[in-house]
């Protein structure tokens, strides 16, 4: 089919529109990045300064050193990686069990999913008391475990229907040929689920990296993830917009890079997952 001129024109228009939408959505992000490199006098001006007079990396220095941005990066990385890893372990097994063997049936799945329904605010107080009882306040373990509880239902849900749709024949034949159930799982079921697993891993990482509410409640000084640092910049007297933008950029860039690197898994993973 040779594309006609009309079709090509329509395609060009659609591309243009898509580009326009992308630019529209990204313009606030552009503003954030620009603010991060603006020197202190140029943050709030009338008319606003859209291009800094000179690039001032002082905001980043201030954010990293004075406001604890460096420690924030390290802590966020530790918590997000730990939570994602743990969530995957629990979630994959649970999803396999639910999807492949229909353990517990629809009711168990719904119950697991309903954990997502609980507003964090409600869970906050009991969980605060819970972690305090174990002496785990302001510790990495508490945050990692807490985020795992939040991530697992989502992982389960997406992967469950995925495992449901896998053809059991391949596994059966492997079993007949002497493989254990565990080997069948590891070498046959798991690889097929790879795109979906990558997709949910990425989303879980993003969630754990960005989480604010529980990080604020459960941590003090030993563990400080990046989102927690932001409100401290809203001093009663003066708002350090440059440093806020710097921390925001520092917080956003690693995750954005990760998303781009794993981009092809995102769509593929989700389309074979829960969307069937």
């Amino acid at each position: 089919m040779i594309p006609t001129f009309g079709a090509a024109l329509r395609r060009a228009i659609r591309s243009g529109f898509a580009l326009f939408i992308l630019l529209l959505f990204l313009s606030p992000v552009f503003w954030m990045l620009i603010t991060a490199i603006k020197p202190p006098g140029e943050w709030l001006n009338s008319p606003p300064i859209f291009w800094p007079s000179h690039i001032d990396l002082g905001n980043f220095a201030e954010a990293l050193v004075h406001w604890g941005g460096f420690k924030g990066l390290v802590d966020s990385l530790a918590v997000a990686s730990g939570a994602t890893a743990l969530s995957l372990v629990v979630g994959i097994f649970a999803a396999y069990s639910l999807g492949r063997f229909r353990t517990g049936g629809e009711n168990l799945s719904f119950t697991i999913l309903s954990v997502l329904f609980m507003p964090p605010v409600a869970v906050a107080v009991p969980m605060y008391l819970f972690w305090r009882a174990f002496g785990l306040l302001d510790s990495f373990s508490a945050l990692i475990l807490q985020y795992t509880v939040f991530n697992v239902p989502f992982i389960c849900w997406v992967l469950k229907s995925f495992f449901e749709d896998i053809d059991p024949a391949m596994e059966e034949s492997a079993l007949v040929n002497g493989a254990t159930r565990w080997q069948a799982f590891l070498h046959i079921a798991l690889p097929q689920a790879r795109p979906a697993i990558v997709a949910v891993a990425l989303l879980s990482f993003i969630f754990s990296w960005n989480e604010f509410f529980f990080a604020v409640i459960l941590t003090r000084a030993r563990v400080t993830t990046l989102p927690v640092i932001l409100p401290t910049l809203m001093e009663g007297h003066d708002i350090r917009w440059g440093s806020i933008a710097a921390i925001a950029s520092i917080a956003a860039l690693p995750v954005i890079c990760l998303a781009f690197a794993l981009q092809r898994y995102l769509v593929r993973g989700l389309s074979f997952g829960a969307l069937r």
């Binding site: 898509a18 001006n45 329904f117 509880v149």
Partner: protein
């Protein structure tokens, strides 16, 4: 598998039971009086609390934004990207950046953008001769301003889900319909939309659940104001529980929220049941 699930279940069930228990007591953390059982008194007080009803209304506004703004827009954008196969994948991922940015960060950035005197938005609007709205300083505009931020932040996520759904539509059915000479709108309405129903259902469920929890942007931009115009149920529960330390009252609010959410979710999940094609070739 089972032990993992057991630990997980404990972690999920315990808070629920605890909240349920606290909600029927007059537990206030800061008052040195041992909490007593008061039955459904907290719930009764909630039902006659004007701030509760206004917070419910605010929450419903956010949900309305999801259903009536984000869903159609996401569907449209997903279809748009679907028609540009070459750079659809990368485009959808680039679009995802607002979702990837932490909600608290989003709050700060939009606080600057919405700034009455110095914000770039008002500057651009001024250039176009559209005047300078006061955004979050207006009792009527504040909530729409926040709903707009929510739109900006989460539409890309819905686009991702819907786009993935479009990609997984059975190509043979679509091809057959096209060969048969059906027009695009008819293909869309009669075939694609019904097939997309599960995806739409999931996207709606996820987003509606999440919009109940909208907190960060309220906390940072308006603190619930002006008045209580932007105070949703999650924020109100936070204030009751963590500002006033009325743990009993806050837990009751949370249980009510849980019930509402569960009902909504159950209804929406009904949409995810796969459609059957009687007589499909």
């Amino acid at each position: 598998m089972v032990p993992a699930l057991a630990i997980f279940a404990a972690n999920a069930i315990f808070p629920l039971l605890y909240a349920l228990d606290v909600s029927v007591r007059n537990y206030q953390l800061l008052i040195p009086v041992p909490p007593q059982f008061i039955g459904l008194e907290n719930y009764a007080r909630i039902l006659s609390d004007p701030l509760f009803w206004s917070s419910l209304k605010v929450t419903l506004w956010f949900i309305a934004g999801v259903v009536f703004l984000q869903l159609p827009a996401s569907l449209g954008l997903a279809l748009l990207f679907d028609s540009l196969p070459r750079w659809a994948g990368i485009g959808v991922t680039i679009l995802l950046v607002p979702t990837i940015i932490a909600p608290s960060v989003v709050g700060f950035q939009w606080a600057q953008i919405y700034n009455y005197q110095f914000g770039p938005l008002n500057y651009l609007l001024g250039l176009a001769g559209l005047g300078h709205p006061v955004w979050t300083a207006s009792p009527t505009l504040a909530l729409p301003s926040l709903v707009a931020i929510d739109f900006w932040e989460w539409t890309p996520f819905m686009v991702l889900l819907l786009f993935a759904g479009l990609r997984s539509l059975p190509a043979d059915i679509l091809e057959a319909a096209r060969v048969d000479g059906s027009s695009y709108p008819k293909i869309f309405l009669r075939i694609m939309l019904p097939l997309l129903r599960p995806v739409i259902g999931i996207a709606l469920v996820l987003r509606v659940l999440m919009s109940f929890k909208t907190f960060d942007i309220i906390y940072i931009l308006t603190a619930g104001g002006p008045g209580a115009a932007t105070e949703n149920l999650a924020y109100y529960t936070y204030i009751q529980g963590f500002r006033y330390f009325n743990l009993g009252y806050a837990s009751a609010l949370a249980i009510i929220q849980l019930i509402v959410v569960a009902i909504l979710a159950k209804a929406l999940i009904g949409l995810t049941r796969k459609p059957s094609f009687a007589g499909a070739a």
